[in-house]
């Protein structure tokens, strides 16, 4: 087991390397030039060229890749072209908001999506099932930004229960932090919740038709116990898989959600950096996020062993 974990951790290095080089290449073929943004309206061509040289953007592509990778190996993600702050500092300033938002959204998605899926499967064909499926389809179809504005309109401007925007760090106030993140987390979790509910329902339907479930009922076990101990435990594997895959959805959705709710997270940092072509920041964030994504998938794979003892590494 430990060997497998070590092997998988080692395997993340080439994956992240490929991601890093691919992102670097994509950025450098994208039109736009930070030097022209910095130089401003009055700069001459010579001044722009001087800025490009100072930023190292005039060097051959492979040289730039080699320099950057050398920095990354030393744990240095470079500095922002515009603010002059280290990329690690910028990521550090933003990581908490995105992490708390993603976890809050994950909690809502799993906490609501799984019971809804189980309920729909248990009451297959009934109005409860149809209602859950309508909810799931609606949730899947609603754009995050639209839902975000709708929630703000109802719960902030209308009822005045929750703030419109912003973020309060956890260390300042846990309650204020959660108040600020409730609407964004609900908006962000909606698609994810729908996905989990549908997947749970499908998986549960497969299990509920098995002989051992019929046997459990025939033995007179209470339905709740059959559902949770016998059916859900065996149906959980695909659900856990979808939670891992869905993490990418959460990160992607966070970009939009953080913009709508003005949350200073990694999503906003990425968008702002892309708009300005702040290459070191984009590269740094993508590298870190891809690393986290690989790690999440590793954790999911390890969870299989816990859920299904038949699986061995």
């Amino acid at each position: 087991m430990l060997q497998e974990v070590a092997r998988r951790l080692m395997a993340t290095i080439p994956v992240m390397g490929v991601v890093a080089i691919a992102v670097f290449a994509l950025l450098h073929v994208t039109p736009g030039d930070p030097a022209t943004i910095i130089a401003g309206d009055y700069a001459t061509a010579e001044e722009v060229a001087r800025i490009r040289a100072r930023l190292g953007l005039d060097r051959p592509f492979l040289t730039q890749v080699a320099i950057w990778l050398g920095q990354v190996v030393r744990g240095d993600l470079g500095t922002s072209i515009f603010s002059g702050l280290p990329v690690t500092t910028l990521i550090g300033q933003r990581a908490e908001a995105t992490t708390v938002l993603a976890l809050y959204a994950l909690l809502i998605s799993v906490g609501v999506g799984v019971p809804l899926g189980v309920l729909a499967a248990w009451r297959r064909g009934s109005w409860v099932d149809r209602l859950v499926m309508i909810f799931a389809v609606s949730g899947f179809s609603m754009p995050v930004f639209w839902l975000g504005f709708l929630l703000v309109y109802v719960f902030s401007l209308g009822l005045g229960w929750l703030p419109v925007q912003g973020y309060v760090p956890l260390r300042e106030s846990v309650l204020a932090c959660l108040r600020h993140l409730t609407l964004p987390a609900v908006a962000l979790s909606c698609i994810y919740l729908a996905l989990i509910a549908r997947m749970t329902r499908a998986s549960m339907l497969g299990v509920l038709g098995e002989d051992y479930i019929r046997t459990a009922f025939a033995k007179g076990l209470p339905p709740r116990r059959v559902l949770i101990r016998h059916a859900f435990r065996n149906a959980a594997l695909p659900v856990v898989t979808i939670i891992g895959i869905g993490f990418a959805l959460l990160i992607g959705g966070a970009v939009v959600t953080e913009s709508v709710f003005a949350i200073p997270g990694l999503g906003r940092l990425t968008v702002d950096a892309i708009v300005r072509r702040d290459y070191p920041v984009i590269q740094g964030v993508v590298l870190v996020v891809s690393g986290v994504y690989v790690l999440i998938n590793l954790i999911i794979d390890l969870l299989y062993v816990v859920i299904d003892p038949r699986i061995r590494y």
Binding site: G32, I37, G40, Y42, V164, Q165, P264
Partner: protein, 530 residues
């Protein structure tokens, strides 16, 4: 009744008037509080000389001071300067700093700080470069006095030093101003009414300023960037909320106090809310430009460029870009309507759209039918809308159009390319400028005919360049106006660019905010919050 005679009343009134006029401005407003402000952009760069970005200029007005300022009526008035003297030939200027000026670290502001700051600014700013080209020497004379010796007469010395918009000659400590102009400064010590709290700066989220308790304001009433800069607020927090819907909701919910740039379609909602109000901060506002590329066909031909003037219907452009008539006006003046150089010289073609004349000029230009590349900036609503208007009008005038969608950052890179349009260059771009940046021939980038070193589009016209030099060397207002008229006539005849209108936009505020000043940048002194 008391014996109030006419003579007594007159004497009393005169005395009262004299006291009022002579008395220092009394700052009776409420002190304290935190201002929560939504800035128009994210503050990323902190050096106002290194960049022309307005957000950096606005930030710098809080923490730095200027030698001179521009008041509401465009008059240049002293700010850090106590007095100045000019020699009889107009070539030797002596400036003396006023008392009580201190840096945020407690050290006194010296004449050397001023000369070093001016030198660095003059390496980057076009107006500064003009001044530098006419300067023989600038040096401190003692701790509070410095001398500017001109090699040739230069009329707008004070206009240059009191320039209100980017790059503003902000005064920095000499050791900071010694930073090469190609590098960003790394220390942010000003002498202005607010201090920058660097530890709380989060690019992409917030910027924090606190009142500078050591700032000694002038005694005069504040007006524009001149007069008494009295900081009533304890703290100013800039927030960056890029989504307009979110910003609007935050203002309505009282989570912020002041929104710098509400899009015009949000303004009616603000005006209908009794808790909110608007404030037109710069009555001259902005000027829109259509800029042809003078290097490549068809607009390397004067007749093809003149067709652009006849095809433009400013009303159509403004309706598309701004939409609310009370905030825009058609204006053919190159140096703005409402400014000291407003003129109709040579503007007959812009006064009325004439598509038949435009088509005739296109024919006479020998246009070969190759597509005209128009850069279409899709992520800025106003620029996106006007590019679509231009496409329609160009087609009506007889051009074939290739509208190429780009984001703003790509547009910045593309517009700098001198290559032919078929090889990544362009034929037409659109932009707009703050009024203060087009108010006279020295600051207006669009009237430069300097060819390769002119603003993108690179028009070359020796006579215009000579007139611009004449303007800065003129010391008489009437003469300057006459030269500005001549420049405008040539600019519109040669079609260096086509102005497509002028508009202004208001701030949106809660009614708790009082004391706003009219100026192209948001100013935080004199402002109170209840």
């Amino acid at each position: 009744m008391s014996g109030l005679t006419r003579r007594g009343f007159l004497a009393g009134s005169t005395a009262a008037a004299a006291v009022t006029i002579g008395a220092p401005f009394v700052h009776a407003q409420k002190r304290g509080g935190t201002m929560r402000f939504i800035a128009h952009a994210d503050l990323k760069v902190l050096d106002p000389i290194w960049t022309t970005a307005y957000i950096t200029r606005n930030h710098s007005y809080l923490i730095y001071d200027t030698l001179y300022g521009t008041d509401e009526k465009d008059q240049i008035r002293p700010q850090m300067i106590d007095k100045h003297g000019v020699s009889s030939d107009g070539k030797r200027w002596t400036f003396t700093l006023r008392d009580g000026l201190k840096w945020h670290d407690g050290k006194p502001v010296t004449a050397e700080d001023c000369t070093e700051s001016i030198k660095r600014w003059a390496k980057r700013d076009p107006f500064g470069k003009l001044l530098a080209a006419h300067t023989a020497k600038i040096a401190p004379q003692d701790r509070k006095t410095f001398v500017l010796e001109l090699s040739e007469r230069f009329g707008p010395v004070l206009e240059a030093l009191g320039k209100p918009s980017s790059n503003v000659p902000f005064i920095m400590p000499a050791h900071v101003a010694a930073t090469p102009d190609s590098d960003q400064i790394k220390e942010f010590i000003g002498s202005g009414p607010f201090r920058f709290v660097k530890d709380e700066w989060q690019p992409g989220n917030q910027v924090v300023y606190v009142r500078n308790p050591d700032y000694v304001p002038r005694k005069e009433k504040p007006s524009g960037s001149t007069g008494g800069k009295v900081a009533h607020l304890d703290k100013v927090i800039w927030r960056y909320i890029p989504d307009a819907t979110t910003a609007s909701a935050a203002l309505e919910k009282n989570e912020v106090d002041w929104w710098e740039n509400p899009p015009v379609d949000f303004v009616p909602r603000v005006e209908q809310n009794p808790q909110l109000t608007t404030f037109v901060y710069d009555p001259r506002g902005q000027q829109g430009w259509l800029r042809p590329n003078h290097l490549h066909p068809p607009f390397n031909n004067k007749k093809a460029r003149q067709a652009l003037v006849h095809m433009v219907d400013q009303q159509k452009y403004l309706q598309a870009a701004v939409g609310v008539p009370k905030y825009f006006q058609t204006c053919p003046a190159v140096f703005l309507c409402g400014g000291p150089y407003e003129s109709k010289a040579g503007a007959e073609g812009l006064a009325r759209q004439d598509l038949a004349r435009a088509r005739q000029l296109v024919k006479e230009s020998g246009y070969d039918g190759k597509p005209v590349v128009v850069l279409h900036v899709t992520d800025i609503q106003a620029l996106s809308a006007v590019a679509l208007v231009t496409r329609e009008l160009l087609q009506q005038a007889g051009f074939t159009v290739d509208l190429q969608a780009v984001d703003w950052s790509t547009n910045l890179a593309r517009r700098a390319k001198k290559d032919p349009p078929a090889q990544g260059g362009w034929n037409v771009i659109h932009t707009w400028w703050t009024g203060a940046d087009v108010a006279n021939p020295a600051v207006h980038a669009g009237v430069s005919g300097a060819g390769a070193t002119a603003w993108f589009g690179w028009p070359e016209h020796g006579e215009i360049e000579k007139l611009r030099l004449d303007w800065v060397r003129a010391t008489d207002r009437a003469k300057q106006k006459q030269i500005a008229d001549q420049i405008q006539r040539l600019v519109l005849d040669e079609v260096l660019y086509v102005p497509w209108g002028q508009w202004t936009l208001p701030y949106a505020l809660t009614r708790k905010v009082q004391g706003m000043l009219r100026f192209p940048a948001p100013l935080f002194w004199n402002v109170t919050i209840t």
